[in-house]
């Protein structure tokens, strides 16, 4: 299994587009927007209060993009026939599936860590070490919702639709979930919509921790609920269309 895991990680790591959208872009956004809005802050305390949630949003944006991008790729491996080929080797199908879950989960970490480092060392965001650790841990744990969502989509769609879904879904989740522009700037209708987006609650987990507290029960419940929902969807699709089924 470790052989297949390294193999899969190496493949994603070679995809420059993936690295750009999940690591570099969120990091650049963090610097860019924090510098703009940071200048509007009256004093250092207000700067910290503005910069922190924005960094958390960008961590969430990068993480959900990484989780989706890594797992939706399943559709490409199905379309190419690789999953079918793997099925006639001694690798159990369950292992192939587990590896993709692990790849999704592991690839979330670079996004989280790089954006956090940029937040700390470029933007000068100050958090206690324990808070930094808790922030990354909570956002890492919560990203499982998007790993499950990506698997469900990767299993359900053919490769072209899946390729489009990676970009569109990431954008929709980020925009409507208030990751790019904070929900407090949203008109009321859109703010209500944001509250049914998994991305909003996911970022909320991080905002609660970055503010020095623990994640609110509502956010935990919402993210857990979405995780359960997406996992059930992924399993249901996998039952109908086994990994090795021919695409189409």
């Amino acid at each position: 299994m470790s052989g297949l895991l390294l193999f899969q990680l190496r493949r994603v790591g070679r995809n420059r587009q993936y690295l750009f959208f999940t690591v570099l872009l969120p990091a650049l956004f963090t610097v860019f927007f924090t510098k703009i809005f940071g200048n509007l802050a009256a004093d250092p305390a207000e700067y910290q209060a503005n910069a922190r949630p924005y960094m958390v949003s960008m961590m969430a944006y990068g993480a959900l993009g990484a989780a989706l991008g890594a797992t939706i790729r399943l559709a490409f491996d199905r379309a190419s026939g690789w999953l079918r080929q793997l099925r006639v080797t001694p690798v159990p199908t369950g292992t192939a599936f587990t590896v993709d879950v692990l790849v999704g989960a592991l690839l979330v970490l670079p996004s989280l860590v790089v954006v956090a480092l940029v937040g700390r060392f470029v933007n000068g965001i100050e958090l206690r070490p324990a808070t930094w650790a808790a922030l990354i841990a909570v956002l890492w744990a919560g990203s499982v919702a998007f790993v499950a969502l990506g698997l469900a989509i990767g299993l359900a769609l053919d490769s072209q639709a899946a390729g489009a879904a990676i970009g569109i879904l990431g954008t929709v989740l980020a925009a409507l979930g208030g990751l790019w522009v904070s929900v407090e700037w949203f008109p009321s209708g859109m703010a209500a919509l944001a509250r049914v987006m998994p991305s909003y609650w996911y970022a909320e987990l991080g905002r609660d921790v970055a503010a020095g507290g623990t994640p609110s029960g509502g956010a935990v419940l919402a993210v857990a609920g979405f995780t359960a929902l997406f996992s059930v969807a992924a399993v249901a699709v996998a039952r109908r269309r086994p990994l090795h089924a021919v695409a189409g």
Partner: protein, 297 residues
């Protein structure tokens, strides 16, 4: 005791919605045999092989590979396969994929010899996305061989190859068969079946319509059917020149012959009358065979 039957299919039925792809098919393949499943597109060859590999659950019937269920046999490293819809992972190099697959087997084929055998020794550092169709097929062959499995299942393996690559491929297959591997392959080229297989199983409409040596099947293609009515003894008919089989229903006699002219001369020399004489070009199966053979030229 090792299983004498490497592939054992009993009463296999595969139905896709309304379509009956495989119809209560029985097939036993013994260790060391090289067997061609010959048939037109849609004859049911792939369905038989995919069911044999456990890629889907058949509508009915039983499949044993190396004396076990298909999944178990594959997990145990006993089977290598080239599938019609098999493929290679993007963002990799040939050598990496080969190494990954080799590592799944307890006793993998040494990589140097394997890549020479599969004809990919110059391709190991090549990016998978940059391979030609024929090269991809050879890499897929190398993956099928990676564990040096006792049973090789190949579903139209040469479909993306040009003539030279095809010849090289079958030379490799003959060598493998010579080393004791059991090789089962699907093809719609009679000449491929003839060149490689020691047994040809003709599939049409999801059933086996002929099963025999390549020579026998070829004779059937070239052959004619002679019919006439004759009462009494027919024992001598089987000994006539060219006759491959004799069947009779009531007074109607049917001779299958590989040389209609010689058979007729002999018949006419012995019989004054041959009432209801009829010489036919081909039975349905024979016509089908000619059709598939014609497709290769």
């Amino acid at each position: 005791m090792p299983p004498t039957s490497v592939l054992d299919i009993e009463e296999l039925t595969v139905r896709y919605g309304e379509t009956l792809a495989v119809d209560r098919l029985d097939l036993r393949i013994a260790a060391g045999e090289t067997v061609a499943l010959l048939g037109a597109n849609g004859a049911g060859k792939s369905s038989v092989l995919n069911a044999a590999l456990g890629l889907f659950r058949p509508t009915a019937g039983r499949v044993r590979l190396l004396g076990r269920g298909p999944l178990e046999a594959i997990r145990a490293g006993g089977v290598g396969a080239m599938l019609q819809h098999g493929g290679l992972p993007s963002e990799t190099r040939v050598g990496e994929v080969l190494e990954l697959v080799r590592r799944q087997y307890d006793t993998p084929w040494p990589v140097g010899d394997l890549s020479v055998t599969a004809g990919i020794d110059g391709l190991l550092t090549r990016k998978v996305d940059a391979l030609s169709g024929g090269q991809r097929q050879r890499v897929l062959l190398a993956l099928a061989l990676a564990g040096a499995p006792p049973l090789l299942v190949l579903d139209e393996p040469t479909s993306a190859m040009d003539v030279a690559a095809r010849q090289a491929f079958w030379t490799t297959m003959r060598a493998l068969a010579g080393r004791g591997h059991t090789v089962v392959f699907a093809t719609h080229h009679l000449d491929e079946a003839d060149a490689v297989a020691d047994r040809v199983v003709v599939v049409a409409g999801g059933r086996i319509v002929a099963d025999g040596s390549a020579t026998a099947v070829k004779a059937a293609v070239a052959g004619r059917t002679i019919r006439f009515t004759a009462p009494g003894e027919r024992g001598e008919l089987a000994g006539l020149p060219g006759v491959t089989s004799v069947s009779a229903a009531g007074e109607l006699v049917e001779l299958a012959t590989s040389d209609a002219e010689a058979t007729l001369r002999a018949l006419l020399a012995r019989h004054d009358r041959l009432p209801d004489l009829e010489v036919r070009g081909a039975t349905l199966e024979q016509a089908f065979l000619r059709l598939t053979a014609g497709g290769t030229r």
